[in-house]
């Protein structure tokens, strides 16, 4: 059997316990014995409800987890757009509520009183961590329904009814009563990007807290908290999406993503201090060339552990000295790692992509010896779930890369051409209604000037010939048909791939 990998892991701060998301399953493991301490799975949706295409593909995988400082409560969220809070020791559900968009990152602030969600739409919202209903002992509610706030209740009920086609848009179940003003600015909306968020984490400096968010448009934004409307700084310099951000110390943060380098910044001034190049190390680990996105940056005091997609290694970067940081070690792994975490005993645990290499175990561990080198240590056997039961598509960050037109590699005197988005310099811009267009087009068609294939066959020509204007694949106007074919083939491909990372606004 092929073990389902643990796509997200989280370590308990003081006990040797690991919380792991195995597809839609939530598990907690004892790291010393390998025993499964507790487990949880979302209840299956009602049988009569037909699952949507997105639900089938996403499989309700859990994407993000966060633990309170004392390790007593765990909050998770995933593809099902539900924010759940559990008792960490028993994995008993304490509360759950629906959130409007899929959450990519969670963070706890205000001494664990408030939870922040960074979602795929680009927004960061805040919610009270404990709901008033939790004060009541026992299960969330008598009839088994989750404890949800008034607002989410109307959203959830309204949208469920709408999906069934029972209620017209804009009205709630009571009919005749419009749902809340959809144009209202949500009170709990802290900040937003105009691009999907890839990650969100907290930044602590003196006694202030900041929210660091990164998006697909290569921006890293640092905003104050709780006054998140104030943007403190933008860290700009990446040329590809930013997938991970981490704070190293008081002044320094690290960012990485689709670029082949890790950025080391002084976030207070916004200056890029170093570009830590990973290309060579990744090429050596992979054994081949190619673009690889950084999956995660894991900071432990002065050391940063970097895992890169498709590379079966953990790169260790030491920041203790003043000199330019570089990769001090590349810990070999049986297969690329999906997540990295350090436990309470300072052991480094890597969750392995067992789909790539089925013979590998789901978790491997390393410990630093006296010289600071990392040696593999024995790990107990962990109960694993069979992939046959259902494989959750992974959030491969490579899909966040934008498909860009390759830049034209020729010299142009007028670089404004490029800046203004014109076609390649030297290529004459075709104005559909430009001067002499008609004359030019006629001349082209008659073969009087070069570029007969560029001639646009207009509807007038065809009607003159007595034909119905039909789609002509040589003409630029007729891309619609070709586009449809391409779209359907792309759709078929997309269905095989992980749909969770497709950047469509939900």
């Amino acid at each position: 059997m092929v073990a389902h990998p643990l796509q997200t892991t989280l370590s308990h701060p003081s006990q040797p316990i690991l919380f792991a998301a195995v597809g839609p399953h939530l598990r907690s493991y004892d790291l010393n014995t390998g025993a499964t301490l507790a487990k949880w799975l979302a209840p299956a949706p009602p049988a009569d409800k037909k699952p949507t295409r997105e639900e089938i593909l996403a499989g309700d995988a859990i994407r993000t987890m966060v633990l309170t400082k004392d390790g007593s409560k765990l909050a998770i969220s995933g593809e099902d757009k539900v924010l759940r809070v559990f008792d960490a020791s028993t994995l008993e559900l304490i509360s759950e509520r629906t959130v409007p968009k899929r959450v990519c990152s969670l963070a706890l602030v205000d001494n664990d009183a408030t939870i922040l969600t960074g979602d795929k739409h680009g927004d960061v919202s805040s919610y009270p961590f404990t709901l008033a209903s939790e004060e009541r002992q026992g299960a969330p509610a008598e009839d088994g329904k989750p404890a949800i706030t008034e607002e989410t209740e109307s959203l959830a009920a309204g949208s469920a009814a709408k999906k069934q086609g029972k209620v017209p848009k804009g009205y709630d179940l009571a009919w005749g009563q419009k749902t809340k003003d959809t144009d209202a600015i949500p009170e709990n909306l802290l900040l937003g990007h105009v691009s999907m968020l890839t990650t969100m984490s907290l930044l602590h400096s003196n006694s202030s807290t900041y929210i660091m968010t990164a998006d697909r448009d290569e921006h890293v934004r640092i905003s104050r908290y709780p006054k998140a409307h104030v943007t403190e700084r933008f860290l700009l310099g990446h040329t590809e999406f930013v997938g991970s951000v981490a704070q190293l110390d008081e002044d320094v943060v690290l960012t990485a993503g689709g670029d082949s380098w890790v950025g080391v910044w002084n976030w207070k001034t916004g200056k890029l201090l170093h570009k830590l190049d990973l290309a060579d190390a990744v090429k050596e680990a992979r054994g081949e060339d190619g673009k690889s996105a950084v999956s995660q940056l894991h900071v432990v005091e002065n050391r940063v552990f970097v895992i890169v997609e498709k590379a079966p290694a953990v790169f260790v970067v030491d920041f203790s000295d003043e000199k330019v940081p570089s990769i001090t070690e590349a810990i070999a792994l049986p297969a690329p790692a999906l997540a990295l975490v350090t436990d309470s005993a300072n052991r480094l645990w890597a969750s392995i992509d067992t789909i790539e290499v089925p013979s590998a175990s789901v978790l491997v561990a390393f410990e630093a010896d006296s010289q600071g080198k990392y040696k593999s240590i024995n790990t107990p056997a962990f109960e694993s779930l069979d992939v046959e039961a259902g494989l959750c598509p992974f959030y491969t960050t490579e899909q966040l890369r934008k498909r860009r037109r390759e830049p034209q590699a020729d010299n142009s005197e007028d670089s404004t051409d490029v800046k203004l988005g014109r076609s390649a310099p030297g290529q004459k811009r075709k104005y559909p209604n430009g001067p002499d267009f008609k004359k030019e087009n006629q001349a082209r068609k008659k073969g009087k000037i070069a570029g007969a294939e560029d001639a646009v066959i207009t509807a007038d020509d065809l009607s003159a010939e007595g034909k119905v204007p039909e789609v002509d694949t040589t003409s630029g106007l007729a891309k619609e048909v070709a586009k449809d074919e391409v779209e359907s083939s792309l759709q078929a491909k997309a269905e095989e791939k992980d749909a969770g990372a497709v950047a469509t606004l939900d």
């Binding site: 600015i185 290569e218 921006h219 943007t231 933008f234 700009l236 310099g237 404004t416 800046k419």
Partner: protein, 254 residues
């Protein structure tokens, strides 16, 4: 255009400077601001080369410090506002940002033509146009607190509810505008759509760093008058006898 051709001096007769005609540069009014559009933008403001846009000012001229762009016209359209503002503030560098390709080309060619026409006075050297997506990439062009004025003239109303998130002024985008605008800087908005005006007021008001200018302050500011009358949209609204709604906000200290 007749008045502009009349400005031609005898020396320029052999070099006939023809201003571009709008009819060859018409383009659909709507463009999806969330799409990637194959846009060109610098990785950071330090990487931006302004010399093709402002050849008279970049690299810095012999006398005086290096100037920076101070005024941005977001969604400048056919450039009417920029053309009027240029002689009004000859010392300020102004940039128009427009997402549509052909419209940007029109404005660019018009600016070049105007610069040629006003060679001896050196007019219109302080304006330029850029094809860009201001919703997404404003911080890529401007450092924190660089701008002193931002104009949003007759933005796309995006009438449908589901399109409201594409409006150029939203509470979340206000944070980005507050970032590039210096304390004391002003955002000028004008529209003929009442719903959009209410929306912009609501969203800018929701951001604690913005304070609305009073009617008296609006009346004193020459930019408000220019904004109301100079743009192509503004003239069209005037011709049709529509009402124009103005809202200006000052950026306060954080």
């Amino acid at each position: 255009m007749a008045s502009e051709t009349a400005k031609r001096t005898a020396e320029e007769v052999e070099e006939v400077v023809q201003l571009p005609q709008k009819k060859f540069f018409r383009q659909r009014a709507h463009a999806n601001p969330f799409s990637d559009h194959d846009l060109e933008y610098p990785a950071s403001p330090a990487d931006m080369d302004w010399s093709p846009l402002y050849p008279a000012y970049f690299p810095a001229p012999a006398e005086g410090p290096q100037r920076q762009v101070e005024v941005a016209d977001i969604g400048c359209g056919y450039g009417g506002l920029l053309m009027e503002l240029a002689p009004e503030f000859p010392d300020k560098l102004m940039l128009g940002m427009e997402i549509r390709v052909q419209v940007t080309q029109y404005v660019h060619e018009k600016i070049l033509a105007l610069r040629k026409q006003h060679k001896e006075t050196g007019g219109y050297n302080n304006i330029a146009v850029l094809r860009g997506n201001a919703m997404k990439f404003l911080p890529n062009f401007f450092v924190k607190g660089q701008l002193s004025k931002m104009f949003f003239c007759f933005p796309d109303p995006h009438f449908k509810s589901r399109k409201h998130k594409a409006r150029i002024i939203t509470s979340t985008l206000s944070a980005e505008y507050a970032y590039v605008l210096r304390p004391g800087g002003i955002i000028y908005t004008i529209t003929d759509v009442r719903d959009l005006h209410d929306w912009m007021v609501k969203h800018l008001h929701a951001h604690p760093s913005f304070q609305r200018l009073t009617k008296e302050e609006e009346a004193e500011d020459v930019c408000v008058r220019i904004m109301s009358e100079a743009t192509e949209e503004g003239k069209k609204v005037g011709r049709n006898g529509g009402e124009k709604f103005v809202a200006c906000y000052r950026r306060l200290e954080d």
